[in-house]
Every structure is written in structure tokens, then in C-alpha cells.
Symmetry: C2
Amino acid sequence: MKRIADSTIRRLSLYLRFLEDFEARGLSTISSDELAARGGTTSAQVRKDLSFFGSFGKRGLGYSVPELSSRLRKILGLERDWRVIIIGAGKIGAALAQYNGFSERGFLITAIYDNDPGKIGRQVDGLTIRALERLSSDPESAAADIAVIAVPASAAQTTADLVVDAGIHAIMSFAPRRLRVPDDVAVKMVNMAMELEGLSFALTNRDSDRESD
Amino acid sequence: MKRIADSTIRRLSLYLRFLEDFEARGLSTISSDELAARGGTTSAQVRKDLSFFGSFGKRGLGYSVPELSSRLRKILGLERDWRVIIIGAGKIGAALAQYNGFSERGFLITAIYDNDPGKIGRQVDGLTIRALERLSSDPESAAADIAVIAVPASAAQTTADLVVDAGIHAIMSFAPRRLRVPDDVAVKMVNMAMELEGLSFALTNRDSDRESD
DNA sequence: GCTAACTTGTGAAGAAATTCACAAGCCGCG
DNA sequence: CGCGGCTTGTGAATTTCTTCACAAGTTAGC
């Protein structure tokens, strides 16, 4: 299969949410134009995104809501549950463990790890914090699909190495660092402070634009 | 000024973190190549990113760490603090209010709002939850620079409208929705479930690649 | 002061993503 | 059954982003 752009996948994920809304409201068909309006893009973009995976619509009519939504779920691999472990039981890790929005979407948090002896053994939302050094020998991590890395930036790379050694092939990292991993391991970096800095730039730029007008 | 790509800004934000590391370690110069290696990009990309804003380096030598880092802070608008309000005191909103990583980077959380009468008046990390309908009349929101929207997706657009009416020009939204706002309002969408779906896609795709090998 | 070893800054080339534009197909109606 | 009104799917055109490649500038050593 031709390599699919990240931006395409992100949009598919978004379209799926709109379809779920439509499904809940009992609507049966939707056009690329309607999806585009909700997603802030163009109908051509929607059709192009879908075209990488097949042709799911009917000319003149649009897309069947339940069919397209089931197709997207299949494309995105959401027909099954995924087991997620969290590494780092600090503020971010603990907040994620308590957030139930993930399990609602099929991402089940099965374990949480830390390397601080003071934290090991404590409970976070029903999960016992485990010792990080046990990661590779733990049955929970052996069965895990995705690791969330929520450790200090300075420990991110060694943590990633542990995760890779444990046979996990997908990482969501909160550390603002490029993680070096083998090609067959997918990494997504998430960092809200960086997003805020993007807004800071936009605000600053807006002000200077006005001054120079 | 020529429009700068989002991806460029995100990288500048990342470079800045590396520079801060270097600064802390007392190093005085850095080359585009070293920045690139840490950021997972190329030296040409680093130089191009910087070139939109001026030329900060010395040929043959590289960049002065303190100077470049100060320049980037200025470009990103991080020489001042920003006042951030959070709207929605649910799991996400409350977690953000308690997280101190933002204030460390100059994003001060000054107020939190909700429209659930049962929540109004309660404390979250030293902040009293305020009534959402008071948003536009509140001095806190009038002085706010950035609004974080952490309400259910179905309420996101009306919340965004309130925020815009309150004169706020930057929004970070956790709702997987395109928000309709005037051109001079910057919006960043953050959604971890969508990132996880990206990983789900990568894992699914990896598996099917292997099957077909 | 000259040479060698580096590294920047930047047009030009190349790659990737988005938008255009239109043929082809579908539905409903008379 | 044929026509008019829609909407998809997709090559081609366009725009945007990244990489290449090299002249120009800097330092260090001798």
C-alpha cells in the first residue's frame, strides 16, 4: 500500500466522529461536502482522503453513514480493543490513567509504571503502580500494544528503549524529544506546552501585524 | 510578513527546548546539524526555519546558544506571560488546572469556568470554578489571552462563540470539531484519542504489511 | 596573511499535499 | 425511458513544504 500521510489519517479520525454523530441522529447518508464543512476542509479533500482506501460512495447520492463509518473503523483498526500501558505516574501519567475517554474508544489502560520507589505499589484509579524495571518481564507489558511515555524529557529515550525491548510497536510520547526507535515502531509526540507556544506566536504575530498596518 | 507554516512554528518550539538544555549545560554554540539531529530533521530544514525570521548564525561557527534561544523566545512571543482560562471543569479541565508545567513556561491559569451549577464555587487547585455565563462580564476573562475549551464536543461551538465575544483571540480546543471563529482568532485542536487512533492505524497497517509479505 | 576545515543562508530543484475540474454514475420525476 | 439535478472518483494543475547544493563568510593553525 502506498504510504498514507499522517494528515490524512488524522482527518479520517475526525470524519469518523462526525459519522458517529450522524449515526446517533439516525441519518442515513452524507455527502463529502457535508463532511468537509464539519471538518473545516474541502469536499475534494474528503474524497481524496477516502480514495486511498477504496471507493465507498454512490455518485449522485453520497455515502451511507453506517457503511462509511464501519469502513473507517476498519481502516483505522478500531474494530478491536488496544491495550495501553502508561509509563510515568506523575501528573500527566496519573491524569491519563484516570481519564476514561480512552477506554470508551477502545484504548484500555492495563498498567502503569514508574521508577520512583515511593510511588510503586500505590493505586491510581484501580491500577497498582508497578516498578519500571519489571517492564520487560511483566505479562501486562508483553500483552500491551501501545505505550504512553509520560516521564521527564531526560528519561524519555531510555524509556523508549525499554518499551521497544518489551516488543511494543507504538508509542505516544509527551516528551518534547525526538525518540530514536526502529522503523517498525510508530511514535506520536504530543505536547500541549508546544501547542500553547504556537498560540503565543499567533497572538504575537497578530499584534505586530496590526502595528504595521 | 510572509505566512509561516504551522510545522515551522512547532519545530522552532522544539529547537528552543534543545537550546535551553544546551544553555543549562553551559554550552555556548550549536550548529544547525546538531539541532537537526535532536529534532529529527535535517540541517537545511533548521536553517530554512530560522531564515524566515532573520539570520542568527555565524558561518563556519554555528549559532550562539544564548542568543538564538533569546531570539526564538522573542519570535514565539515567550518574553511575556500569557493568561489562560480553562472552560470546562470536567476530567480534562481539572487535570489541566492542576498541571503546573504550563505556568513554568509562562502560561498562567487564571480562571476556570463551568456551566454545571453543582460544580460552580468548588475549588480546583486554588481556583474557584466560576459560572460560564459570567464569562464575558468577568474581569479575569477580559484580561485573558488564551482560552482552553475542555467541554463536551456538542457544546464546543457555543463555547467558542462566548470566548470570541469575550475578546479572546486564541483557543486551544480538546473537542474534535472544527470551530468556526473569525480570522483573527487562532485555534489549535488537541485530541489524544485521535492520536491514539493514528497509532492504531499504524499498528494495523504494520500487521497487514507483514501478512502480505 | 594564507590555507584548510567548517558552517551558514538561500535560490533552485524536487517531493508532497491540496485543489481543480470534469467525466461517469445514480436517482427521481414526468 | 429520457432528462435534469446531484455527487463521486480521479487525473492534472497548483500550491506548499522540504531537500539540495553551493557561494560566501568565519575561525584556527602555521
